[in-house]
C-alpha cells in the first residue's frame, strides 16, 4: 500500500522545504522528496556557503588594509583549504537545521529521485529501492543548475561552475570568469580578494546588467580599482581546456581579439531548470521555451493538483522568491483542501529584492531608472553618495550610494538601488515600503537612526525631491 499524503514536495531547497513547513503548519499531511541534501542548492552549494567564503575574503581584505585603521598585521596569508572547510562546516550546520525543522513539523522525508507517474502519484527511487507515494497535491521545486558553455563542459578540473568554485582543489592564479551576473561577479570578487588575477567577461555592455546602469558603472570602477580586469561587450571566440590551463580568445567591444591563458575558468552564464526525469511530460505539465515550468500567480501548472515554485519556474531565480512562492502555494493548496482561514495573495515581482555579495555589495528592489522610463513613467530620481554619510566614513566604507526612483505623478516608490557596505541588510527597508505601497511622503516622514548607513536611504528620498540635507 502506497503512502498517501495531502501534499508531496519534490525538492527540499529554500522553496520546497519552506512550502512543506507552511503546509504542515496548516495541518496538511506532508512529505518531501530530496535526491541529494536537504536544503537544496541554496543551503549546500549556493547562497550560504558562498557567504561563508566571502566573509573570509572580506576579513582577509581588512587584514591587508589594517594600516588604514591604524593597525598592523604582518605576514598575513590565506589558506584556501581552511577557508573552504569553514564554508562546508556552515553548510553542514544549516543542513542539519533543515533536518530538524522537518522532524519538528512532522514532515516525512523520502530520500531519492522522485518521478511523477500520474497526477497525484510518484515513485521515489533511492538506494536501489523504489517506493510508491500518492498525494492530493504535488509541488515541483526541483530548482536549476548552471548552464554550460556550448562547446566546453565544466569538468571541475580547469573549467568550473559555481559548484566547483565553491570547493576549489587549488587556488587559481589567473582566473577567467565568464558572465557578470550575481554568481559570476561574487566569485570574481572572492578570488580577486583572495589574491588571484581575475578577468570578467560580459557579453552585454555593462557588468551586473540587471541592475541600474549607475550601479553597474560604479561597480566596474570599484572592481577595476581592486585590480580586476573587466571586459564588457565582449565575446568568447574560442576556448579550449588543457591539463594545466585554459586558452581563450576573447573579442572585446572594439572588435580586437585577445588571446590569453588562464589557470581556471568559472562559467556563470545562467541556469537551466531541472525538469528532466520528473515524468512531467507523462502527466502533461508544459514547460516554456526555455524549459521552465509555466505557472499562474498562485503556482498552479496546467495540470490540476500539480504546482511549481522557485528556479524551475519563471524568474527571478532567487532563494527568497522560491520561499515566498512556497508559502503562497502551500496556502493555496490548504485553501483548495477546504481551509477557509487562509487567503493567499500573489507576489508582485517588482517587490522582490535582489542582493549581490560582491565587493562592494549591491542590493536593489523594483524598477531601474531606465526600466521605469521605458514603462512610461515620468520619474523623480534621488541619489545620495556614502561620502556624505558619517557612519560610512567612520567605517572607512565611503564607497557607495543609494538611489531611489519615484513616479513623479503619484509619488510611488518605483525602485531603489544601493551599492556599498551592508546594503544587502538595508534593502528590506525599501522592500517593506514598496510592499505597503508607500509614497515619498511616508519615507520622508520616517525617522532613520543616527549614525547608520541607512540614513543614506532617507537622504536619497529627500534628494529625489530636492531636499537632501547632507549634500
Amino acid at each position: 500500500m502506497a503512502d498517501t499524503y495531502d501534499l508531496i514536495v519534490l525538492g527540499s531547497g529554500p522553496g520546497g522545504y519552506v512550502a512543506a513547513i507552511r503546509a504542515a503548519q496548516l495541518g496538511l499531511k506532508t512529505a518531501i522528496v530530496e535526491r541529494e541534501s536537504l536544503g537544496g542548492i541554496c543551503l549546500n552549494w549556493g547562497c550560504i556557503p558562498t557567504k561563508a567564503l566571502l566573509r573570509s575574503a572580506e576579513i582577509f581584505h581588512y587584514m591587508k588594509h589594517a594600516k588604514d585603521y591604524g593597525l598592523a598585521a604582518d605576514k598575513i596569508s590565506a589558506d584556501i583549504s581552511a577557508v573552504v572547510q569553514r564554508s562546508r562546516g556552515v553548510a553542514k550546520q544549516l543542513n542539519q537545521g533543515v533536518t530538524g525543522l522537518m522532524k519538528k513539523n512532522k514532515i516525512t522525508v523520502h530520500m531519492g529521485q522522485g518521478k511523477l507517474t500520474a497526477p497525484g502519484k510518484l515513485t521515489v527511487t533511492g538506494d536501489g529501492k523504489a517506493e510508491e507515494l500518492t498525494a492530493k497535491h504535488i509541488i515541483i521545486a526541483t530548482g536549476a543548475r548552471a548552464r554550460d558553455l556550448p562547446k566546453l563542459k565544466a569538468d571541475g578540473k580547469r573549467v568550473w561552475t559555481y559548484r566547483h568554485a565553491m570547493t576549489p582543489p587549488e587556488m587559481p592564479t589567473k582566473l577567467l570568469v565568464i558572465g557578470s551576473g550575481a554568481i559570476g561577479i561574487e566569485f570574481a570578487s572572492f578570488y580577486n580578494d583572495m589574491g588571484a588575477d581575475v578577468t570578467v567577461v560580459e557579453m552585454l555592455d555593462r557588468i551586473v546588467p540587471v541592475e541600474d546602469a549607475d550601479v553597474s558603472a560604479f561597480l566596474e570602477k570599484a572592481v577595476k580599482k581592486q585590480g580586476m580586469t573587466v571586459l564588457t561587450g565582449a565575446k568568447i571566440e574560442a576556448i579550449a581546456a588543457g591539463d594545466s590551463s585554459v586558452t581563450a580568445t576573447i573579442k572585446d567591444k572594439t572588435g580586437k581579439a585577445i588571446e590569453a591563458e588562464y589557470s581556471h575558468v568559472i562559467v556563470a552564464i545562467g541556469i537551466v531548470p531541472n525538469v528532466e526525469n520528473l515524468g512531467l511530460e507523462d502527466v502533461g505539465v508544459e514547460p516554456d521555451k526555455r524549459f521552465h515550468i509555466k505557472t499562474d500567480e498562485y503556482g498552479r501548472t496546467n495540470v490540476d493538483g500539480i504546482w511549481a515554485i522557485g528556479d524551475v519556474t519563471a524568474p527571478p531565480w532567487l532563494a527568497h522568491k522560491a520561499s515566498h512562492e512556497g508559502v503562497i502555494v502551500a496556502e493555496a493548496i490548504a485553501q483548495a483542501l477546504g481551509n477557509g482561514d487562509v487567503h493567499p495573495h500573489p507576489m508582485d515581482p517588482n517587490n522582490i529584492p535582489g542582493c549581490t555579495y560582491c565587493h562592494p555589495q549591491i542590493a536593489s528592489v523594483g524598477l531601474t531608472e531606465a526600466k521605469a522610463k521605458e514603462a512610461g513613467y515620468e520619474v523623480k530620481v534621488g541619489m545620495f553618495p556614502f561620502i556624505g554619510n558619517g557612519k560610512a566614513i567612520a567605517l572607512g566604507e565611503q564607497e557607495g550610494f543609494t538611489k531611489t526612483v519615484f513616479d513623479a505623478k503619484t509619488g510611488e516608490l518605483l525602485g531603489a538601488h544601493m551599492i556599498g557596505a551592508e546594503v544587502t541588510e538595508m534593502i528590506q527597508g525599501f522592500t517593506i515600503g514598496k510592499t505597503i505601497e508607500t509614497t515619498e511622503a511616508e519615507l520622508m516622514h520616517t525617522v532613520f537612526p543616527h549614525p547608520t548607513i541607512s540614513e543614506s536611504m532617507h537622504e536619497s528620498v529627500l534628494a529625489a525631491y530636492g531636499r537632501a540635507l547632507h549634500i
Binding site: T410, E437, A441
Partner: protein, 434 residues
C-alpha cells in the same frame, strides 16, 4: 490660565466639520452654556456651547473653515484672574504645546471604536476605518475615487493600487491635477479624510456655475453610491386601495382637532410600515458582514426634503406609538430638519425607511436603500383609478408602494410578505390602531 476650546465631536462618527459661524468674538466674556459657535456636520448645523467660564482670548479657526478635524483647537478661553487684554498676544504661543498634548487625550473618545452593540457595522460602514495603502489613498484623491466604494484585494481587504486601476474615476480630472497633487504632498495630507465622490466635471465649454458641495450633499453622494454599488436591490410593487384609510383619517382628524393634531396620510403610513415590519420580522433586519441583525423594534427613518438636500429623521418604535404621537413628533422633526437643527441621534439609526413622493404627483418609484438599513418603502401618489372590486369595475383611490430590499439579507418571498402585510394594514387601517 487658558483653556483650549477644541472642535467638538457632535456625533459618534463625526471626524470633521465646518465652523459655520462664530457667535462670540475675541474679548467676549462667556459663562457655561453660552453659545460659542455653529458647527455644520455632514447632516446638520449644531450649536456649540461653552463649558467653562472665561473670556474668549483668541479665535484660532476662522468662520467658514471647512474640514476642521475633531480635536483641532478652534479658540482659546482665558479663565478669570487674567487680563483679557493681554490675552491674545501673550497667549498666542500657549495653544501650541497645549494643542499637542490635549488632542491626544480627548480625541480618541469620539474616534474610539463605535460601541459594538450600539452601532453594529456591516463589512464597512460609515465611520469605519478604510484600509488602503498610502499610494491608493493618494491615487483615489487625485482621481476623485471614493475609497469607500472600492473592494480591497490586499491582505484583510486592504485597498491597493491595482484595485483603483479598474475603478471608475470621478469623471476626467483637470490636466493640472496630478502634478499639483504630487507637488503638494503636505496639502494632500491635510485634506479631509472624507474623499469627495467626484472631482471637477467636464464642462465642455458650456456656461455654468460651479457650486461647492455642502457637507450634506457629499454625504448623500457617498452613501447613495455606496448603497447602489454594494447593496443588491430588489424591488417589489403593490397597488393599495386608500379609501378606507382616507375615511378613517377624516374621522380621526375631526376627533383630534380639539387637541390641535392633524394627521397626514404619511403619519398613518409610518405607523403601518412599523406594524408591518413587526409582523414580518424577516424584513426588519440589517446585513452586517458575517452576521444578520434582527431588530426587535421598528424605527422608521422618514425622508424629509430640506433646502440643499434630504434628511431622514427617525420615529423610534413606530409600531408601538400612537398615530397622534407620530404626527406630533413628525411635525417637530420636519420643522427642525428644515432649520438644520436636528441632533445626530435624531437622524442616525433607524431600521427601515419611508419615502413619500405622492405630494409631487409621482405615481410610482424605486427608492435607494439607506445603508446600513435593509429596506425602504417608496410611496406614490394616491389617485383615483379604475379598480376591479368583486369582479366589477369601480373607481377607487389607489396608491402604488414599492419596497426596495437588500437582497443579501431579505429573500424575495419575505419582501413580498412585508408588502402584503403593509397593504393589508393600509386597506384595513383600524387593525393597526388597536
Amino acid at each position: 490660565m487658558s483653556i483650549n476650546i477644541q472642535m467638538p465631536a457632535l456625533s459618534p462618527t463625526m471626524e470633521e466639520g465646518t465652523l459655520a459661524k462664530w457667535l462670540v468674538k475675541e474679548g467676549d466674556k462667556v459663562v457655561s452654556g453660552d453659545l460659542l459657535a455653529e458647527i455644520e456636520t455632514d447632516k446638520a448645523t449644531m450649536e456649540f456651547e461653552a463649558v467653562d467660564e472665561g473670556t474668549i482670548g483668541k479665535i484660532m479657526v476662522a468662520e467658514g473653515s471647512q474640514g476642521v478635524k475633531v480635536g483641532t483647537v478652534i479658540a482659546v478661553l482665558i479663565v478669570d484672574g487674567e487680563d483679557a487684554g493681554a490675552g491674545p498676544a501673550s497667549q498666542a504661543e500657549d495653544p501650541v504645546p497645549k494643542a499637542k498634548a490635549e488632542p491626544l487625550e480627548t480625541a480618541p473618545a469620539p474616534q474610539a471604536e463605535p460601541a459594538p452593540k450600539a452601532d453594529p457595522v456591516p463589512a464597512r460602514a460609515q465611520g469605519d476605518r478604510i484600509k488602503a495603502s498610502p499610494l491608493a489613498r493618494r491615487l483615489a484623491d487625485a482621481k476623485g475615487i471614493d475609497l469607500g466604494s472600492i473592494a480591497g484585494s490586499g491582505p484583510k481587504g486592504r485597498i491597493v493600487k491595482s484595485d483603483l486601476e479598474g475603478a471608475k474615476e470621478g469623471v476626467a480630472k483637470p490636466a493640472t491635477a496630478p502634478s499639483a497633487a504630487a507637488a503638494k504632498p503636505a496639502a494632500a495630507a491635510a485634506k479631509p479624510a472624507s474623499a469627495p465622490v467626484a472631482s471637477a466635471g467636464q464642462d465642455f465649454g458650456i456656461p455654468h456655475e460651479a457650486v461647492k458641495l455642502s457637507g450634506m450633499r457629499k454625504t448623500i453622494a457617498r452613501r447613495l453610491t455606496e448603497s447602489k454599488q454594494q447593496v443588491p436591490h430588489i424591488y417589489l410593487t403593490v397597488d393599495i386601495r386608500l379609501d378606507r384609510l382616507l375615511k378613517l383619517r377624516e374621522e380621526l382628524n375631526a376627533a383630534l382637532t380639539a387637541r390641535g393634531v392633524k394627521l397626514s396620510v404619511n403619519d398613518l403610513l409610518i405607523k403601518a410600515l412599523g406594524v408591518a415590519l413587526m409582523q414580518v420580522p424577516e424584513c426588519n433586519v440589517q446585513f452586517a458582514g458575517d452576521t444578520l441583525l434582527k431588530f426587535q423594534r421598528a424605527d422608521i427613518s422618514v425622508a424629509v426634503s430640506i433646502p440643499g438636500g434630504l434628511i431622514t429623521p427617525i420615529i423610534p418604535g413606530a409600531d408601538s406609538q400612537s398615530v397622534a404621537a407620530i404626527s406630533i413628533a413628525m411635525k417637530d422633526l420636519a420643522a427642525r430638519a428644515k432649520d438644520g437643527k436636528l441632533k445626530p441621534d435624531e437622524y442616525q439609526g433607524g431600521t427601515a425607511s419611508l419615502s413619500n413622493m405622492g405630494m409631487f404627483g409621482i405615481k410610482q418609484f424605486e427608492a435607494v436603500i439607506n445603508p446600513p438599513q435593509a429596506m425602504i418603502m417608496a410611496i406614490g401618489a394616491g389617485e383615483q383609478r379604475p379598480y376591479v372590486v368583486d369582479g366589477a369595475l369601480q373607481i377607487a383611490t389607489i396608491m402604488s408602494a414599492t419596497g426596495s430590499f437588500d437582497h443579501r439579507a431579505i429573500d424575495g418571498a419575505d419582501g413580498a410578505k412585508l408588502m402584503a402585510a403593509f397593504k393589508q394594514l393600509v386597506e384595513n387601517p383600524l387593525a393597526m390602531l388597536t
